[in-house]
C-alpha cells in the first residue's frame, strides 16, 4: 500500500472513532433520552450478550439465509433471462419497453401483491427479495451480452463452436464484469428487502429482532441489531469485491 492510501485509511478510521466518541458524549450528557438512544457502550454490551446467549446468531443466520436465497435466485434467473434477451437484437427491441415499464416499479408496490398471493410466508419473502434483486443483475447481463465484440462471434463461427460453447466460453466471460457489478448492487437490495420482509411477515431474522426491540423500548438491543445489519452489508459487499477482483484479474492486466 502506498503512503497516500495509508493516510486515507488512517483518516477514515479517525472519522469513525470520532463518530463513536461523539455518540458516547451525546449519550452521556443525556441530550437524547436513554430510552431512545443508548451509548455505544450499552449497544456493545447488548451485542456481546446477544451473541453469547446465541439469540443474535440465530437472527443473523435467518437474515443471511433470506438474503442469500433471494440473491441466488435473482442471480440465476437474472443471468438466464438477461442472456436470452441480451443475445438477440429482436428480443431486445421487443422486450426492452416492457422492462422499462416494470423496472421503476418500487418493490414496495409488489409486496402487498406478494402477500395476497403467497401469505406471510418464507415463499413470499423469497419472491419479494428475488424480484427486487433481479433488476440490477438482469439489466447488467442484457447490457453485457449486447456488448460482446462481434468479431469474437466470427472467431467462434470459423471454429464451428457449438451454441453452448459460444455462451460459456465467449458471451458469459465477456459479460462477466457487467454481471458481477450488477450482482454487487443487488446484494444491498437483497439485504434491505430481507429486513423489510422479516418486519412485515414476522420471519425469524434481524429485521424481526429490531422490530421487537423497538416495540419493547429495548434501545440497546435495537442498536445492536442495526449495527449488525450495517456490518452484514459491509462484509458481504467486501466479500463480493474480493470475488470480483479474483474473477476479473484479466481486467487488471488490461489497464
Amino acid at each position: 500500500m502506498n503512503r497516500a492510501a495509508l493516510l486515507w485509511r488512517v483518516a477514515s478510521f479517525a472519522v469513525a472513532a470520532g463518530f463513536v466518541a461523539l455518540w458516547q458524549l451525546i449519550a452521556n450528557l443525556k441530550l437524547v433520552s436513554p430510552v431512545f438512544l443508548p451509548g455505544p457502550d450499552r449497544a456493545w454490551a447488548s451485542l456481546v450478550r446477544g451473541f453469547s446467549s446465541g439469540d443474535l446468531w440465530s437472527k443473523l443466520a435467518g437474515t443471511l439465509e433470506h438474503m442469500a436465497y433471494g440473491w441466488l435466485a435473482a442471480s440465476i434467473a437474472g443471468i438466464a433471462i438477461g442472456a436470452i434477451i441480451g443475445s438477440s437484437r429482436r428480443m431486445r427491441t421487443y422486450v426492452a419497453p416492457s422492462l422499462e415499464f416494470l423496472r421503476p416499479l418500487p418493490v414496495s408496490a409488489i409486496i402487498p401483491v406478494a402477500i395476497a398471493m403467497l401469505g406471510l410466508t418464507q415463499a413470499m419473502a423469497l419472491f419479494v427479495i428475488a424480484f427486487g434483486a433481479i433488476w440490477p443483475i438482469m439489466l447488467a447481463t442484457i447490457h453485457g451480452f449486447a456488448a460482446v465484440e462481434p468479431r469474437l462471434y466470427e472467431v467462434a463461427r470459423s471454429l464451428q463452436m457449438s451454441r453452448l460453447a459460444v455462451i460459456f466460453k465467449i458471451a458469459l466471460p465477456s459479460a462477466s464484469p457487467d454481471i458481477l457489478a450488477g450482482m454487487r448492487l443487488s446484494l444491498t437490495v437483497a439485504l434491505i428487502l430481507s429486513v423489510v420482509c422479516e418486519i412485515l411477515a414476522g420471519l425469524d431474522g434481524l429485521g424481526h429482532w429490531v422490530l421487537l426491540s423497538a416495540r419493547a423500548f429495548r434501545s440497546a438491543d435495537l442498536f445492536a441489531g442495526v449495527i449488525l445489519l450495517g456490518v452484514t452489508g459491509y462484509v458481504t459487499s467486501v466479500a463480493m469485491s474480493l470475488a470480483e477482483h479474483r474473477l476479473l484479474a484479466w481486467q487488471a492486466a488490461q489497464r
Binding site: 465484440e149 468479431r151 469474437l152 466470427e154 472467431v155 463461427r157 470459423s158 471454429l159 464451428q160 463452436m161 460453447a165 466460453k169 465467449i170 466471460p173 465477456s174 462477466s176 484479466w250 481486467q251 492486466a253 488490461q254
Partner: protein, 267 residues
C-alpha cells in the same frame, strides 16, 4: 519437396481449385459490393489481393470464409458449396485486439481452437507449447493479450489459426497496423509456416511490395463494384529474401505494373 511438387501443379493449373469463386455477386444493403467475380485458388497457392480502400477486398475474403453468402453465383471449397464457416478455413483478422479473448492468456487463446477441435485436455498443453514456440512466443504462455505488443498479439492470433490445422489461411491486412521491422519479420515467418504446412493462403494487403514479396500470384481489384482488374503471376524464386527478392528485376517490373494499375483505379 512436396511443396515444390504442389507449386508445379499450381503453375500448370492441373489440380482442382481449393477455393473457387464462380460468377459471385454480393449485394449488401441494396449496394452491389462484388460483381461477377470468378477466381480459382489452387491448393498450396499463395494468392495476394490488393486494391484501393473500399474496393471489396475484405468482403471477398469474408465470402471465401463463408461469413457471407453470395447473392448469386457460387463459392466452392474443395468442390463443395460453402454454406457456413468451417474449421479447415482459418481467418487472421487485421484487428487482432478484437479477435483475441482478453480474459484468456496466450495459452488459453490457443486452447480455444483446440477445444473447438475436440482435443482432450490432456493433449492440449503440449500442443499449445508447440504452437506458441512455432510463432515465437514460447515464454509468453501465461500473459494476457493486453500485456503483449501488437506484433505479439498478431503472432498469437496466427498461432490460434494454426491450431485449427487449416487447409486454407485467410489473412486480412494482418500486418497493416504494425511497424516496418515487425512486419518484415512476420512476413518471413508466415512464408516459412505456410511452406511447412502446405496451406493455401489468400492474403489481402494495401502494400504492393508485400503482395509481390509473399505471393505466387497477385490480383488487383477494381472498385464500385469490386471485380478483378489485373492478375499477375509472380515468378520469383523461393525462398524469398528481404534484400535480394526486393532487388530482383522481376520484382521491380511487377511493382511498376501494379503501381500503374492502382494509380489508374484511383483516378
Amino acid at each position: 519437396m512436396a511443396s515444390a511438387a504442389k507449386r508445379l501443379e499450381v503453375l500448370s493449373g492441373a489440380a482442382t481449385p481449393q477455393i473457387a469463386f464462380d460468377g459471385v455477386t454480393l449485394v449488401l444493403g441494396g449496394k452491389t459490393i462484388i460483381e461477377n467475380l470468378s477466381l480459382g485458388v489452387q491448393p498450396g497457392e499463395f494468392l495476394c489481393i490488393v486494391g484501393a480502400s473500399g474496393c471489396g477486398k475484405t468482403t471477398a475474403l469474408r465470402l471465401a470464409a463463408g461469413l457471407y453468402q453470395p447473392t448469386s453465383g457460387k463459392v466452392n471449397f474443395d468442390g463443395q458449396p460453402m454454406r457456413e464457416p468451417r474449421r479447415e478455413i482459418a481467418i487472421v483478422f487485421q484487428d487482432y485486439g478484437k479477435a483475441l479473448l482478453p480474459w484468456r492468456t496466450a495459452a488459453g487463446n490457443v486452447s480455444l481452437a483446440l477445444e473447438a477441435g475436440g482435443m482432450t485436455s490432456a493433449e492440449r498443453p503440449a500442443r499449445i507449447e508447440e504452437l506458441l514456440r512455432t510463432v515465437g512466443l514460447p515464454d509468453h504462455a501465461s500473459k494476457y493479450p493486453s500485456e503483449m505488443s501488437g506484433g505479439m498479439q498478431q503472432r498469437l492470433q496466427i498461432a490460434r489459426c494454426l491450431a485449427q490445422e487449416p487447409k486454407t489461411l485467410l489473412m486480412d491486412e494482418p500486418f497493416g497496423a504494425l511497424d516496418a521491422m515487425t512486419r518484415q519479420g512476420l512476413q518471413d515467418e508466415v512464408l516459412s509456416l505456410v511452406a511447412a504446412s502446405g496451406a493455401t493462403v489468400i492474403f489481402v494487403t494495401h502494400d504492393l511490395d508485400e503482395a509481390i514479396y509473399l505471393g505466387d500470384r497477385v490480383i488487383g481489384l477494381l472498385p464500385h463494384p469490386g471485380r478483378i482488374g489485373i492478375e499477375l503471376p509472380v515468378n520469383l524464386p523461393r525462398p524469398r529474401d528481404q534484400l535480394s527478392t526486393r532487388e530482383h528485376p522481376e520484382f521491380l517490373r511487377l511493382r511498376r505494373q501494379l503501381f500503374d494499375f492502382i494509380k489508374a483505379t484511383e483516378q
